[in-house]
């Protein structure tokens, strides 16, 4: 009675202020980085007018071109490999009751999320160095395989979530009508699973495209990807060219994440789906 009508049980003093500050903090640095990529001057601190010159200079920089192509090749191969493996693994882990060794399999799939990246990077450096000496092969496949491995859990999560929410009756009906397992998978399971597969592939692509640590340790000489190229630029005077490259990478990530969000939202994501 004594309480005023407007008493809101959900209100906590100061929380909205902290939250708004938090959002500003999250976005301010990124926005400034993007803004300065359009700077006409050489500085990343003093604004001298709008220009696209740094995008042009990044575009014409041969090292950037090389690194971009390499990044895209690795991310494409790694996301295709990781997603294919993840679809199969998700089918094996959701379509049958918990089997012996399930927890080991689950821990293995999620291992790249738990082990510090620097440790995996060091392990791969040592292991691949041995293979390089033994075989003499120094190509891109080391990077593609390393990326595939840490992309698997990211591709696996949305695919598994989608599979768990799927109706088994249709598959059962397909099998009852004498569909072979492969035909049932192609005609019934896969079309329903498709948004999950796409979402998983997109996450894997973003994760591969953004990787710095493992790439830095595994790459052979002259195998820079965009992020490792940018890390190398740190030793020099930084020009807004780095901002321009960053802005393009940011745009790709943001576009893919929003697409991922829309894809999983349409298929009502489960708890712990997006992380």
């Amino acid at each position: 009675m004594a309480r005023s009508r407007s008493f809101d049980v959900r209100r906590q003093a100061g929380f909205p202020a902290v939250a708004i500050t938090c959002f500003i903090l999250l976005y301010l640095p990124i926005i400034l980085l993007v803004v300065y990529s359009f700077n006409a001057g050489k500085s990343i601190a003093i604004w001298e007018g709008f220009s696209l010159q740094w995008y042009v200079s990044a575009w014409e920089n041969e090292k950037v071109q090389d690194a971009t192509i390499r990044s895209l090749i690795i991310a494409t191969c790694a996301s295709v490999i990781a997603t294919s493996a993840a679809v199969m693994a998700a089918l094996a882990t959701t379509r049958s009751p918990k089997f012996k060794g399930y927890s080991v399999v689950f821990a293995m799939i999620n291992q790249p999320l738990m082990i510090p990246e620097i440790v995996t990077a060091v392990a791969l450096l040592i292991f691949f160095a041995m293979i390089k000496v033994a075989t003499g092969y120094t190509g891109l496949w080391y990077l593609i395989l390393a990326h595939s491995a840490f992309c698997i859990p990211f591709a696996y999560m949305p695919i598994r979530a989608r599979l768990q929410g799927m109706d088994l009756n249709l598959e059962q009906a397909g099998a009852d009508l004498y569909g072979t397992p492969w035909r049932v998978f192609r005609r019934i399971t896969l079309p329903q699973l498709w948004p999950g597969v796409l979402a998983g592939a997109m996450l894997a692509f973003v994760i591969s495209l953004d990787d710095v640590v493992i790439t830095e340790f595994v790459k052979s000489a002259g195998q820079d990807t965009l992020p490792t190229y940018m890390l190398g630029q740190l030793r020099r005077v930084i020009t807004p060219e780095v901002n321009a490259i960053s802005t393009v990478l940011l745009a790709i990530s943001v576009a893919l994440v929003i697409a991922f969000y829309l894809l999983t939202k349409s298929g009502k994501p489960k708890q712990g789906d997006v992380q």
Binding site: A19, L33, A89, D210, V213, P227, K265
Partner: protein
């Protein structure tokens, strides 16, 4: 009949798992075993190893042998780097909690229709390149950056303050890049919070602070623990952020490990340090699993 079907189902399952497991064994788990082996070998002169057994690397993790009289003493350099890694990671976790908790609460108390949009705003930075976000922080706190220019402009300071390449810079950077990892799990528990309990507490004349401390916090504690682990673990093993924002002056464990494979040319020491880091992370994860398990028991 039923038995053969079961066997073929098992075979099918393992065939489906084979590609993923093969890739993971080849490029994730398997190499970890080689790291353990390397930590017991002798360093080669130009990197790599000589294949003779030695426990020197493990001694060197915490101690150093005097060059002249071969006596052992604590390695101050290593200890200070261990200490810095733990200290900065704990500080990062604490600050992330202080900011992340109210943020998660704020989002969870928005109308249902807008919650997803707020969460998307948290998730987007998380999926953007960590190196780029670290760059963004660097550009803001450098001597010619926004923070210093604004403060000079306002007359608060006359000379730029050295923020970059300090422990403060590393903590700020790690806070910035790992904050979403704190908000996500806290929000997940907060979303399921039953506000009729909060209302009941108010009816019993609890103050806002008391409601927060005695009702809300205990209910979302699993999310807070999960968030703290998710921030603490990558902070402890951070490599990019301390390299960019610490500028090679303020090393953390990740940088110390890298050093052994670069200029240090002591691969066994690098391997031993990696396993040490891994062990600390595993202990943190085990503590989490145990406390999460207990939480479930006490609620169920």
């Amino acid at each position: 009949m039923a038995e053969t079907r079961e066997i073929s189902a098992a075979r099918r399952r393992w065939m489906l798992l084979a590609p993923a497991l093969a890739i993971l064994v080849f490029a994730a788990s398997g190499p970890l075993l080689i790291v353990i082996m390397y930590s017991f070998l002798t360093p080669g002169d130009y990197g790599g190893v000589i294949w003779s057994f030695s426990t020197d690397a493990w001694f060197n993790v915490v101690a150093e042998r005097d060059f002249f009289d071969e006596t052992l003493s604590f390695s101050d350099a290593h200890w200070s780097i261990f200490w810095r890694s733990v200290k900065l990671s704990l500080m990062t976790t604490a600050v992330a909690f202080l900011v992340g908790f109210p943020t998660a609460y704020f989002i969870a108390t928005r109308p249902k229709a807008t919650r997803d949009i707020w969460m998307l705003l948290i998730i987007i930075p998380f999926w953007t390149n960590l190196l780029i976000r670290t760059f963004a922080v660097m550009e803001i706190i450098r001597n010619e950056g926004v923070v210093n220019s604004v403060m000079i402009g306002l007359g608060i300071i006359d000379e730029p303050i050295q923020l970059l390449f300090t422990e403060f810079a590393i903590t700020l950077g790690m806070f910035y890049v790992y904050l979403p990892l704190m908000v996500l799990p806290i929000y997940a528990s907060m979303e399921r919070l039953d506000f009729s309990l909060v209302e009941a507490a108010y009816d019993l004349y609890a103050s806002r602070w008391r409601v927060l401390k005695r009702v809300i916090f205990p209910l979302v504690k699993p999310g807070v623990i999960a968030g703290s682990i998710l921030v603490f673990v990558p902070s402890l093993g951070a490599y990019v952020t301390p390299r960019v924002l610490g500028g090679g002056k303020q090393l953390m464990l990740g940088n110390l490990i890298e050093l052994q494979f670069g200029q240090g040319r002591n691969w066994p020491l690098g391997a031993a340090l990696s396993i040490t880091l891994l062990a600390i992370v595993m202990i943190a994860l085990m503590v989490y699993v145990r406390s999460a398990g207990r939480e479930e028991v006490s609620h169920g």
